[in-house]
């Protein structure tokens, strides 16, 4: 980060070395802020170890852990790269990942406002309730009117402040001729307080101020829980945006080097590999590719880019290597990143209607119709406008989705908290509901089930020139085999050949031109296609077309992740159908499948085939969960009903996934699915509880027997029982405990 990278907080809010008096760095020098995400910290010991270790670094001004969010916020001199802090923490056994603090939306203000609203509503509720108790226990005539008037004086300002979010939201949807849960809520609060005000002024018997306040209080609590869950989901989303594009490859004086995105200046040459999010805004100067610009423009088709095209940070480079002249620093493209995050949230939300919204669509009109019938019936029989209105209000208050407002957020918050502790990040709130409906799980093989670590065998038979070309080709791809090959060759002293026209073709490989010869590295079938010597054994995993010695095949040893067999057996017991869908050749897929036991194995598929296969499954009524990590899984991940990806998957794959498994934590899948199932069960139980209360209270209200006291009791009892139900331990599903 640079000294000018300070758009979010003014310099005067810098800590005055409060916790680190011994620190040599002064706050006069411009400091920069780094945010690290540390998944494996969970106690006070971790806090002090991390803060102490970072405090030892002379450039660090202050470090503060937030255990609830598993983040540490570091103020340091600008010359200290984030990687140095990550390395320092790795020394003491913590795996940290840099988060992009510019991308992380600041929802603190919103959550604090909600907390204050809850407190104010609670204050009003308690005081008015005290006054109401006096009324219920027999105050009458002038005393009652006095108590009602004081209640009105407390309740009205409190409601205007505390219930404003509901009014605002109801007003917004009504303007578009739509309905949501906030419409009956606002109507109930508004009618109840106006009618009670009339009663208070005219000396009437009933005032519903306490009910209106209690309603506001419980609903705000539900909203706060929702915000808590969302704030964690956002932190997960920022982790996605943050990680891969925190570092980028830069070409300087013909040398390639990895450097922190924040250190990149205007005019630098950025080298962007296929599958990577482009780190900075800029102009393409070399290479051809397609980019996924849907985050920015909503265009679903990839856009072709070539020399001269402008590209923007967070666009995903899909097929070819690009060299880009950077036109704006990372901090300046802040806006584009935030837009991309919002779009991630919105597009995934558009795909699925949450249970709560489905309930609201039936519930809100039903409540209004019921209240209208109550009003008309009483007006018809008694011809007393005020009495009929009171019945309608009692109906609105009692049926008001107080418990429903808590039913979903309470469960989602508690479940996502449990998952978070287990190393699983949910990217959006409806993911749990969709995961609960899954019956087929489709796995990608490479990187997902296998540990992603390969050892290239028998490299010494190649010439130095071939190895150099091979390394240059491997550097252009993020495929695990290319990475393994690159790692094996990185330490060797090899020539650095100038390759032109480097293109990565999804599920095929990398192709380039060297000295007028086409060189290729990729899928054996693809490399061997236009070659005479197309013989290769089933063990071959990569083909290499050398500039002068023709086609060769490379063998790799592949490691299955150690917990995978156990996890698959567990999923089998839970009744899921398991499919292996891989771009790898049939023989090597079968080797893995035989060891692990799948219901079906489909090998040698292209990304399009993967997507088509998932579409076919879903067309036949199956709900598919896709687990994948690579560029070739992206389309399949986006198509499936729900999708998960490991944290070290490519940007493209992670932005299509609903849940992220931290580390190589794929064995968390049964835990995730069991939690999702029990969460859905809890939500439905909560709906049932709320319904039972309504079934008892509605006839009472309809008969005109619902006094303010009955309304207060029904409402509080249903809200409390719904929250308690949400806190119950998850159901005893087999495999719930890992």
């Amino acid at each position: 980060m640079t000294g000018s990278a300070f758009p979010l907080s003014p310099p005067e809010s810098l800590p005055k070395d409060a916790g680190h008096p011994d620190n040599s760095a002064t706050t006069d020098s411009p400091a920069s802020q780094t945010l690290l995400y540390i998944s494996d910290m969970h106690c006070g010991g971790c806090i002090s170890k991390i803060e102490a270790r970072l405090g030892q670094m002379p450039a660090v001004i202050s470090a503060r852990v937030n255990l609830s969010l598993k983040q540490v916020r570091i103020n340091a001199a600008p010359h200290l790269p984030a990687q140095a802090m990550v390395d320092a923490l790795a020394e003491i056994g913590f795996s940290a990942r840099p988060l992009d603090s510019h991308v992380l939306p600041d929802d603190k203000a919103e959550m604090r406002a909600t907390l204050l609203r809850i407190a104010v509503a609670g204050f009003g509720m308690m005081n008015v309730m005290l006054l109401s108790v006096s009324v219920w226990s027999g105050a009458d005539a002038a005393t009652r009117q006095l108590l009602h008037l004081i209640s009105a004086l407390i309740a009205l300002p409190v409601l205007i402040y505390a219930a404003r979010p509901f009014f605002a939201s109801a007003f917004k949807v009504l303007r578009h001729w739509q309905m949501n849960m906030d419409v009956p809520i606002s109507l109930a609060i508004l009618l109840a307080s106006l009618n009670s005000l009339y009663d208070a002024l005219t000396g009437g018997a009933h005032a519903y101020f306490d009910a209106a306040l209690a309603l506001t209080f419980f609903l705000l609590s539900g909203r706060y829980l929702e915000q808590l869950a969302r704030s964690k989901a956002r932190s997960a989303a920022a982790l996605l945006a943050g990680r891969q594009s925190r570092f980028a490859t830069i070409r300087r004086r013909r040398q390639l080097c990895r450097m922190a995105v924040d250190d990149i200046r205007e005019g630098d040459r950025l080298v962007s590999a296929a599958g990577e999010a482009i780190a900075c805004d800029g102009q393409v100067i070399k290479g051809e590719s397609e980019t996924d610009r849907s985050f920015l423009t909503g265009e679903s088709l990839p856009v072709a880019v070539r020399a001269g095209t402008r590209v923007y940070a967070s666009e995903i480079n899909l097929t070819g290597q690009l060299e880009i002249e950077v036109s704006a620093r990372n901090t300046d493209s802040l806006l584009t990143r935030i837009i991309s995050l919002v779009d991630i949230a919105e597009t995934s939300r558009n795909r699925y209607t949450a249970l709560a919204d489905r309930a609201a669509r039936i519930y809100a009109p039903a409540v209004h119709v019921l209240a209208a019938i109550g009003f008309l019936f009483w007006y018809g029989t008694s011809n007393d406008f005020h009495l009929s209105l009171s019945v309608a209000i009692a109906l609105l208050i009692i049926t008001c989705p107080c418990a429903l407002g808590l039913a979903v957020p309470a469960v989602v918050t508690i479940t996502s908290g449990r998952l978070f502790k287990g190393g699983i990040l949910l990217k959006n709130a409806t993911a749990l509901e969709r995961l609960a409906e899954i019956d087929v799980i489709v796995f990608d093989k490479t990187g997902t089930l296998t540990s992603g670590q390969f050892t290239a065998a028998d490299l010494d038979r190649f010439s130095v020139q071939d190895l150099g070309v091979m390394r240059a080709l491997a550097a252009a791809s993020h495929h695990p085999l290319s990475t393994a090959l690159y790692d094996a060759l990185a330490a060797r002293k090899l020539p650095e050949p100038a390759l032109e026209n480097i293109t990565e073709l999804p599920a095929k490989g990398v192709r380039a031109v060297y000295n007028g010869h086409i060189v290729m590295l990729g899928h054996p079938d693809w490399v061997a296609k236009d070659s005479v010597q197309s013989q290769f054994s089933g063990q071959a995993r990569l083909g290499f077309k050398s500039p002068d010695t023709g086609v060769h095949f490379l063998c790799f040893d592949e490691h299955i992740h150690k917990d995978v067999p156990e996890m698959l057996a567990c999923l089998d017991k839970m009744g899921y159908r398991r499919l292996l869908l891989t771009g790898d050749n049939t023989q090597s897929a079968q080797i893995i499948a035989d060891q692990l036991g799948f219901d079906e194995v489909i090998a040698g598929v292209t990304p399009e085939d993967k997507m088509a296969h998932i579409q076919r499954l879903q067309a036949s009524g199956r709900k598919v969960l896709m687990a994948g990590d690579g560029l070739n899984d992206t389309a399949a991940l986006a198509t499936a009903h729900a999708a998960i990806a490991p944290a070290d998957a490519l940007d493209a794959a992670r932005s299509s996934a609903d849940a992220i498994l931290l580390g190589h934590n794929i064995q968390g899948l049964p835990f995730l699915l069991a939690s999702a199932r029990s969460a859905k069960k809890r939500i439905l139980e909560n709906f049932a509880l709320a319904l039972i209360y309504n079934l008892i209270a509605v006839p009472l209200a309809f008969a005109g027997l619902a006094t303010p006291l009955a309304a207060a009791i029904a409402m509080s009892a249903s809200s409390v029982s719904v929250s308690l139900n949400a806190f119950r331990a998850p159901g005893q599903n087999k495999g719930a405990d890992r």
């Binding site: 409060a18 503060r64 609830s68 204050f123 005081n127």
Partner: protein
């Protein structure tokens, strides 16, 4: 019943005091990291107040 004229303002005043303290604690970052605060208090070298926003 005239005692109400004293008791109601007193109860309101007490409630308001509590409310103001709560608002103060929210403004002082005390609700930003509930889990961390629970752990830090057991630490011998614990800091008595949450840090200001860096």
């Amino acid at each position: 019943m005239t005692v109400l004229l004293v008791l109601i303002p007193v109860s309101l005043l007490l409630g308001l005091t509590g409310l103001l303290f709560f608002a103060w604690s929210v403004k002082n970052n005390q609700y930003d990291d509930p889990q961390g605060a629970a752990e830090r208090i057991l630490d011998d070298a614990h800091d008595s107040a949450p840090k200001k926003d860096p």
